[in-house]
């Protein structure tokens, strides 16, 4: 014991001597401090995107060192089969991009429906949209780099879209070079890196703007614009180190674990059907001079599927659009709408149910995105007449607005009481289905049709789910959540996690680091990262305060001393939510 004490006091001395803290104290930095209730995933969606981006940068640099624009297809195969850890890294680079774009969509729409783009965060929103556009540009150029048949096809389609654009041929030379293969892959690699660098710089701007306004408080805390915590309130929350750091690390490791685990599992699944292999395969397909296995459609990556389908659309007179006009309509119009949204929706409400029109448009955007993407996957490249477009894309408009109108009304039908039980909600869905059932002439496109009906209803329900949940909930939220786990159990648990992680490592190092078996490294390391993430989560649960501090700001801007944390516990306002909580 004496020895242990000696060692710990010695290390303490050394640490304090060389501590960075005397130069920079992170907690002295003006970083936003988080209240307890915000250590939940829904407030950290941006951090998830950033975690995926960091993974992309690190693996991307490794790939950059090993890529030859002069022989892109064969060199990619070399990376996969000969370079140590090349296969798991390449596969996770692709899936990391998938994760990043998917999470960015979630992040975007969460902020859309929560009204986070409103004053004072307009610029944050606009920068976010630019980031999204850049991410798609980076993804497109990166997708072409393996020079497999899908990449070559994607370049062909991009040529067709750009050829119709003003100054299109100039754009084509800027993006794709002088027409020779070496120049094309040199340019694509260059743009891929340049876009990623600009993306990284803008992430910095995005982050700084975020720090300036802080996290948007929950609706319960502040519903009206400007949804910000007054400085004297948030300064009393948890400092950045250690809690925020530990939670960020937990999420980052979680995402990295998934990014590494999933593609390396997928590549080991035998017999993925050809019809979906272009969407799932973590590895490049055959070279452009070979033919795809029978039944394999030449898909673009999933996040461009919606655009791909819109190219098949015919005008009302039966003539096709030029690919440029089609992608302008399906890609640029929604983008422009989102860009000017903060200036279109000027009300001071942030709750979705008080912004019916914009919530409805948002639901439609999501619906069309999914609908067109699935449509492209099911019927790739089949020209669609105007009547089919209307038949499939008009019902969601009705469903979205009918359910947006009915569901909140059902909630407020009896004052103070929640009448929308899950049973009633199910009934509403049936009613909705009957209304739109009159369109059922479109049997051929049944699945796409149903997507168009289900998504609006489901999303309306999700948007209001927190409200019913509160209506149904009877137990008040405990001020201090009782610990479900004693420290002794936690110790046993942690040791078990350690042993499992060590076991996986021991198992993994038996496999070669090149060739197909190197993907086992990806699987094992993915699982270890997930275990690490879980251990951090357990640590946070055990050692950080869990009190519910999600309390309403009564007079923003005035300093309150009575509430202990600088905010007053909500008074007897007539708010139905508070009553429900107390009941």
């Amino acid at each position: 014991m004496k020895v242990m004490d000696r060692i710990s006091s010695l290390t303490g001395k050394i640490i304090s001597k060389f501590s960075l803290k005397q130069f920079v104290d992170i907690n002295e930095q003006p970083l936003f401090r988080m209240p307890n209730y915000m250590f939940r995933l829904r407030y950290w969606l941006g951090a998830l995107v950033a975690a995926a981006f960091i993974w992309e940068v690190v693996t991307g640099l490794f790939l950059l060192l090993n890529y030859y624009p002069s022989d892109p297809y064969n060199q990619t195969q070399t990376i996969i089969s000969k370079i140590p850890f090349g296969a798991p890294i390449l596969y996770s680079h692709l899936y990391g991009a998938y994760f990043m774009i998917f999470l960015a969509y979630i992040h975007l729409f969460r902020n859309y429906f929560d009204g986070a783009y409103k004053r004072p965060r307009q610029l944050l929103w606009v920068v976010g949209l630019l980031l999204f556009a850049l991410a798609l540009g980076t993804a497109f150029t990166g997708y072409s780099l393996p020079a497999d048949i899908l990449g070559a096809d994607a370049d062909g389609v991009a040529h067709g879209i750009l050829a119709g654009a003003p100054a299109g041929s100039t754009l084509i030379t800027i993006l794709f070079g002088n027409g020779t293969s070496v120049d094309m892959y040199t340019k694509l690699l260059g743009w891929h890196v340049i876009f990623a660098v600009i993306l990284g710089a803008l992430v910095g701007v995005h982050f700084m703007l975020f720090e300036q306004y802080g996290v948007m408080p929950s609706k319960k805390v502040k519903e009206k614009v400007p949804a910000v915590y007054p400085k004297e309130t948030w300064e009393k929350f948890n400092p950045w180190f250690p809690r925020n750091f530990v939670y960020t690390l937990e999420l980052t490791l979680f995402i990295w674990g998934l990014i590494l685990l999933i593609p390396n599992v997928v590549i080991n699944i035998p017999n993925i059907p050809n019809s979906i292999s272009p969407l799932l395969s973590p590895a490049p397909l055959v070279s452009p001079s070979q033919s795809l296995p029978p039944g394999t459609p030449a898909f673009p990556p999933w996040f461009f599927l919606f655009l791909y389908k819109s190219i098949d659309f015919l005008q009302p007179n039966g003539a096709p659009y030029t690919p440029f006009i089609a992608s302008l309509l399906s890609g640029m119009l929604p983008a422009l709408y989102l860009l000017v949204l903060p200036w279109l929706d000027r009300s001071d409400e942030t709750a979705a149910h008080k912004r019916t029109l914009f919530a409805g448009i948002g639901i439609l955007l999501v619906t069309y995105l999914v609908q067109l993407s699935v449509w492209a996957a099911v019927d790739p490249g089949i020209p669609e007449p105007f009547s089919t477009q209307v038949g499939l894309m008009l019902p969601p408009v009705f469903v979205a607005f009918v359910s947006l109108y009915l569901i909140p009304r059902a909630i407020h039908s009896k004052k103070g009481e929640r009448s929308l039980t899950p049973k009633n909600a199910a009934l509403l869905i049936v009613v909705g289905l009957v209304i739109v059932g009159t369109w059922s002439s479109l049997l051929r496109h049944l699945s796409i049709y149903l997507i168009g009906v289900f998504i609006p209803i489901a999303m309306t329900l999700v948007l209001f789910a927190t409200r019913f949940a509160r209506g149904v909930e009877t137990a008040p939220v405990e001020e201090k959540a009782p610990r479900m786990m004693t420290y002794n159990i936690a110790i046993v648990f942690m040791v078990m996690l350690f042993l499992i992680a060590a076991g996986i490592l021991a198992l993994m190092i038996r496999y070669p680091d090149t060739g197909p078996e190197s993907t086992y490294w990806g699987i094992g390391t993915g699982i270890i990262l997930l275990i690490f993430s879980y251990a951090l989560s357990l640590y946070g649960y055990l050692f950080y305060p869990q009190e519910n501090d999600e309390v309403k700001i009564v007079h923003p801007g005035t300093k309150k001393t009575s509430g202990g944390r600088g905010i007053e516990v909500q008074g007897a306002s007539g708010e139905a939510e508070n009553q429900a909580d107390k009941a």
């Binding site: 027409g179 001079s289 039944g295 020209p383």
Partner: protein, 302 residues
């Protein structure tokens, strides 16, 4: 912002006074101080040595600084044009002999009629592949293909397809890159008469509307793109039969030497090859004076 208040004669006089004071050794302008302190140095300096800067003068000076900044930005940004690289390519079509993989000239009489195998060669650039087709009727006899006028649906203009070459005038060649969105063989290929039916194995099925359009036009075979269903008429200059394409496939001009039975590619007519602003630019030239014809694959597996 009035123009008059911006550019008064006294402003120029004032500027002359400034430059005089800056050069004067007794009141020399300290560049280092200016870089470090900016306006905090400049304004007191001017006030001490030339007379105070009033609001108008200050605006004027600011305006000139912004103007210089704009000129500097424009002149730097001009270099953005450096991003546009000149396209690789050649200036004129080179006459090329079609040879097989051993380097021997391809004989026109030995090109199979209604061949289901995809036969390709590069011309005039290496990324421009062409079909070599010998077209026949349903019983496999070569068809003499006359010169016709081909319409480009996109803009309504027309050009003349020169017709077939060879002893039977039945050999033609077209760009093998779909004019819709650039799909290449085996996604796009020729359907000879024996495969003009429905019920073939995927992906070589013909959609019923393409088949119906071909039958309506009385065509023994078609060139069809599986990507999005564009259909071309190989007997009449690869004219468009069904969309979504808005442009016919460009015809690669062939020349037949009747004495040796050899085939030469000499040029291209119609729209530029897909993805190119002109068929001659945007790629590496096929080197030498011959291009190799090769059997790529047989898309019909059943």
């Amino acid at each position: 912002m009035e123009f008059g208040s911006f550019l008064g004669i006294e402003d120029f006089y004032y500027l002359r006074k400034i430059s005089g004071a800056m050069k004067n050794p007794r009141t020399r302008f300290n560049d280092t101080m200016f870089i470090e302190e900016g306006e905090d140095y400049l304004l007191p300096y001017l006030a001490d040595n030339v007379g105070p800067v009033d609001e108008t003068r200050r605006k004027f000076i600011k305006g000139v600084v912004f103007g210089i900044g704009a000129i500097a930005a424009a002149s730097v940004l001009d270099a953005v044009r450096g991003l546009q690289v000149p396209l690789a390519g050649e200036n004129a079509y080179v006459k090329m002999l079609l040879v097989d993989s051993t380097g021997t000239a391809v004989k026109a009489s030995s090109v199979p009629v209604n061949n289901p195998v995809i036969v390709l060669y590069e011309y005039p650039l290496t990324n421009e592949i062409n079909f070599l087709l010998n077209l026949g009727d349903t019983s496999g006899n070569p068809l003499a293909l006359a010169s016709t006028s081909v319409t480009i649906p996109e803009n309504g203009s027309t050009y003349t397809f020169p017709g077939g070459v060879g002893a039977n005038k039945s050999i033609v060649s077209y760009s093998a890159i779909c004019q819709h969105l650039g799909c290449k063989p085996p996604n796009i290929h020729y359907y000879p008469p024996q495969y003009m039916k429905t019920g073939l194995t995927f992906p070589d099925f013909l959609p019923p509307d393409a088949l119906a359009a071909a039958q309506k036009a009385n065509l023994p075979g078609i060139i069809h793109c599986d990507c999005h269903g564009s259909t071309y008429d190989p007997y009449h200059g690869a004219a468009v039969i069904t969309g979504p394409t808005q442009r016919p496939l460009p015809s690669t001009v062939l020349e037949w030497d009747s004495s040796t039975d050899q085939l030469y590619a000499t040029g291209s007519i119609g729209v530029p090859v897909y993805g190119h602003t002109s068929t001659l630019s945007g790629g590496t030239t096929v080197s030498g004076t011959s291009s190799t014809v090769s059997n790529s694959s047989n898309p019909f597996t059943s």
